[in-house]
């Protein structure tokens, strides 16, 4: 791996911020450094060339695509999905007839499809309004298509079996040209939108916000900002799900949430 200078990282973030309005200043340093060195290696590029390329707007989409981490799974942490199905969704239905869900940082959409499959099996898919956002337009296109590498489906199917769904994951996709093509009707009511968590726009209110393994790429300052945004975007008694190895302990907004499932890191907003 190429060792990257902090001074160069600063230059990169400054250019991207002033020219395009994306602010990576508060991304976690070690992973951001690795993303930059990955871009250099994959394109066989020097730091000077990258600096020049950043002024070419045509390169921006590729840059955003590589900076963000798009490694995800369907039904990642099967026990999380069981808690969602058995506790969280029924909990929301006690108070609301329809459910509003935000997948913040949805990447290639595996969790969105997992959610849709779970809800269809519960007979609730038509009562749910899902918005899925990401900063990276390339990856949003991929999410909309719902086409995944067949070799990933093995892991996805294992997760689904551990989740204990009512069917087989095979019922939800067809094989075509070496890809697994997910059933589009699952996401016909999902709205995929470009949204940058760093900018912090609140655009709607939700019963459930999922943001698992996204904020780990942010430093503490940015995590606090984003969590404020989630707090504002949730109805009172709405749920926030973060990754199993994330925690609100060190966050300013922690006292406005209670933990409803510590193992799966599901929180509930209790104060406005």
């Amino acid at each position: 791996m190429t060792e990257i200078d902090i001074a160069d990282l600063k230059k990169i973030t400054e250019v991207v911020k002033s020219k395009y309005g994306y602010d990576f200043t508060n991304y976690a340093m070690s992973s951001f450094k690795r993303r930059i060195s990955r871009i250099l290696e994959m394109n066989n590029m020097s730091m000077e060339t990258l600096m020049k390329k950043l002024y070419d707007p045509g390169f921006l989409d590729d840059f955003l695509n590589e900076i963000t981490v798009n490694v995800t799974e369907m039904f990642r942490d099967p026990s999380f999905w069981r808690v969602l199905r058995d506790d969280v969704i029924p909990g929301i239905l006690l108070n609301h007839q329809t459910i509003r869900i935000w997948h913040a940082g949805c990447s290639s959409g595996e969790e969105v499809f997992s959610m849709a499959i779970m809800l269809r099996e519960m007979g609730l898919l038509d009562k749910v309004n899902i918005i899925a956002t990401d900063l990276d337009t390339n990856i949003l296109e991929k999410a909309k298509k719902g086409e995944y590498n067949l070799k990933n489906m093995e892991l996805n199917e294992k997760n689904y079996i551990r989740y204990q769904g009512t069917s087989s994951l095979k019922d939800y996709f067809k094989e075509s040209n070496g890809k697994a093509v997910l059933d589009k009707s699952l996401v016909e009511n999902v709205s995929f939108r470009k949204h940058d968590l760093v900018k912090g726009d609140v655009f709607n209110k939700f019963d459930l916000v999922l943001c698992r393994n996204v904020m780990i790429y942010f430093n503490q300052t940015l995590q606090n900002e984003v969590l404020k945004n989630f707090h504002e975007s949730l109805f009172k008694y709405g749920y926030l799900a973060i990754g199993s190895k994330e925690s609100l302990i060190w966050c300013e907004i922690a006292n406005k949430f209670i933990i409803v499932n510590n193992e799966e890191k599901i929180y509930k907003k209790i104060k406005d």
Binding site: M1, A28, M29, S30, K245, E246
Partner: protein, 197 residues
Amino acid sequence: MTDFKLDNRYKAIVIGGSAGSFQGIVKILSNLPANFPLPIIMCLHRLKHVRNGFVEALSIKSIVEIVEPYDKEPIKKGKVYLAPSNYHMSTELGHYFSLSTEEMINNSRPAIDITLGTSAYVFRDKLIGILLSGANKDGGMGMKYIKDRGGLTIVQEPSECMIDTMPKAALSLTTIDHVLKIDDIAEFLKQLHKQYK
């Protein structure tokens, strides 16, 4: 008994291991003196989809507290940290951990090179790196980073390893200060402990 001629400059220890390292780790941890003065940061290859049980298994014979840190958890003296399953674990300037789900490296997540490399960046010549038995090369580059930044490097004696690919990778990539059997690594840590009294 070897005198390792240590001093108290060190601020952290990182340990990497894979196939065949479990018994060695248990032995090292169970021989660790009480009130050990440094954080011990461990990255061991483990099953991706078994989230629980590993810490418990390691803790059976150990008196020190072993935790799988949360993202952004501060690094504290005297604690033992284990990279959680299916996450890379990095050390950050400011002495806390960051987790990530980036692509696998050397077919591994957690990857030892990441934990060792980022710790070398943060702790520089105040870091001790220990690499144990393992069946792939992960950790070799990490040991090189540690040496390049002035840290102290130790690998398990290859003849004692169940699989020696990992320590041999480190030996071929960089200077290793000590090639030791597990019992001697335990002795090394005892001598190190005495420097902080």
